[in-house]
Symmetry: C2
Subunit: 333 residues, 2 copies
């Protein structure tokens, strides 16, 4: 064990698209755990679109990242020193202090995971909050029912690819995904999507209409903007949107023009519902049971894009915003 | 009884704001009821904002009004001839064939009302679909709970004025209304609103923030556009909008720019839900029981703006769109 560890600080708040200059790699002393604390050496961390929002100095549901302090986010690591009951060196711990090589945790802030049950990576992706987001958004927030036609944007991403597969497993009649490259569109076919399109190929509204001539019942929104507008236009009556994110807008300095057809929510009796996964922990046991079974049976497949080295975490995050990932974007430390 | 009756036809489809030229007063033969039919002489009819939508030739939840045929809408009348069991001359009937002096109804399309229980006008307003819209939207669609802060737009209108009063009766902590004139704002104070503002007095967002410094939990939307944007901005987490109408957009040829802050639905976990009262007939009995009691106790007050003469029905409708009504806009035939 060394005396210092590296961590990524927020050097400045991005305006519009972030860039490497907004991040700073810092060498910091490795802390010593006090009573009730554990020191974890991180091995894997998650980068997620929602982190863009925390880089703004805006009042929101979670406080903004602080300047000149390490960023935060889902991470896995190994306990190297423990002053807390129930944690011993060698334990694998899931926690929220990523973006650093060494994390000092209060015991209540970490959760031990069993690396013999599933590959540890999956606790940051398909078996973790990523999977739970897909599950909760689709089944609880959008209340998908068997027979529904489901549309997912950013469908080749970590959440979207699971939404589509869970929809099929839960009886959706038809699942349509949009993605940002021919390779991703091809991958959606392999994952069992009934139709997929590259949103660069034309107006989303037209592509969706062609893929769902009889309309859609559920929309899982990761993108916002023209995708949400297209979904509103394609919705059948009583359509339901679970709004997980609006990545199209995160880096825009201009207010978005779309959706221009919001008035259709009345006549079609649509429900548009934003959600955060943390509000849906009541279904965690059900999610873990379902997802573990699907993984065991090979019924769910998941992709990971792994970048090596904490110094490349900003690059991984920027690539995620540009859609360079297939499935879950992770950084191996 | 005469041989002919007058009716208002749709002469042309308006583009943008409708005008008198879109309507035509026509003299038509009075029909004779066949088996199972009743002939009703209308005495009162309703004009409602939703009718603007039916003037467009657009696929929607209800078919568009036909050109060169009478418009339709809620009406009350007196049976003058009946070939249907259960209906006799002199009965007062509530039905959907307004905009004409004589309506020929299949018996199933009309409902007898008892003029001794309540003034018949109320079956078209506070005890009718208008009241039920306010009740269903507030309590079921927006799921208002005691202690909520509630914002209503077009609050001096037929639906809005009831929403605010029902909210107070059901335990809202604070009810805020927006309206379009100082007289209406004053009236909202008399109806028990805790705060009200004239939306001409400044940006709605600022007026609402001043009236609801601690945010809002429920928004009953009759207006859309800048009002919906202001509500999204003022919403507390888990805020809920019941979207009844978007009158600000009905006459606009341009797609609306607002709401530009829709991305807030995620972080605040907002629910925006469009509705039509007809989907909520399951709570009709509860509504009638509650509302009858409130009327009996003098706990609910309602305004009516009555225009005389079927020839002035277009004028009444146009006035409604311009906000010239206080409370329910009716035409006495």
């Amino acid at each position: 064990m060394t005396d210092t560890g590296r961590e990524i600080h927020l050097a400045s708040r991005p305006e519009g698209w972030p860039s490497a200059e907004n991040f700073r790699l810092v060498e910091a002393p490795v802390p010593t755990p006090g009573p009730g604390q554990v020191l974890v050496r991180n091995t894997l961390m998650s980068v997620d679109p929602y982190m863009r929002g925390r880089m703004n100095d805006a009042k929101s549901y979670v406080p903004p990242f602080r300047l000149d302090a390490p960023l935060e986010g889902g991470a896995l690591g190994e306990v190297v020193a423990s002053e807390a009951d129930g944690f011993a060196p060698g334990d694998t711990v899931l926690h929220g202090l990523g973006w650093r090589e060494y994390a000092l945790l209060d015991a209540g802030a970490g959760r031990k995971v069993d690396p013999t049950i599933a590959p540890v990576n999956t606790y940051l992706s398909v078996l973790g909050l990523t999977g739970q987001t897909a599950y909760a958004g689709l089944l609880e927030v959008a209340a998908m029912r068997p027979g529904d036609t489901v549309f997912v944007s950013a469908a080749a991403g970590a959440v979207g690819s699971l939404v589509g597969q869970i929809a099929k497993l839960k009886g959706a009649a038809r699942v349509i995904g949009s993605a940002g490259s021919p390779a991703k569109v091809k991958r959606l076919g392999e994952l069992g999507f009934d139709a997929a399109f590259d949103y660069h190929d034309g107006p989303v509204r037209e592509s969706l209409r062609a893929a769902a001539p009889d309309g859609i019942d559920v929309y899982f929104d990761n993108v916002g903007g023209d995708h949400l507008e297209a979904a509103i236009s394609a919705f059948n009556v009583h359509g339901r949107a679970a709004i997980c994110g609006m990545i199209a807008q995160y880096n825009s300095a201009e207010p978005p023009a779309a959706p221009r057809n919001l008035a259709q929510v009345v006549g079609k009796r649509l429900t548009l519902r934003g959600f955060l996964v943390n509000d849906h922990n009541d279904l965690r046991d059900r999610f873990v049971a379902d997802m573990s079974g699907w993984l065991r049976d090979g019924a769910i497949r998941y992709d990971e894009t792994v970048v090596d080295g904490i110094e490349r975490a900003p690059e991984a995050f920027l690539g995620l915003l540009r859609g360079e990932n297939l499935g879950k974007m992770l950084v191996r430390l």
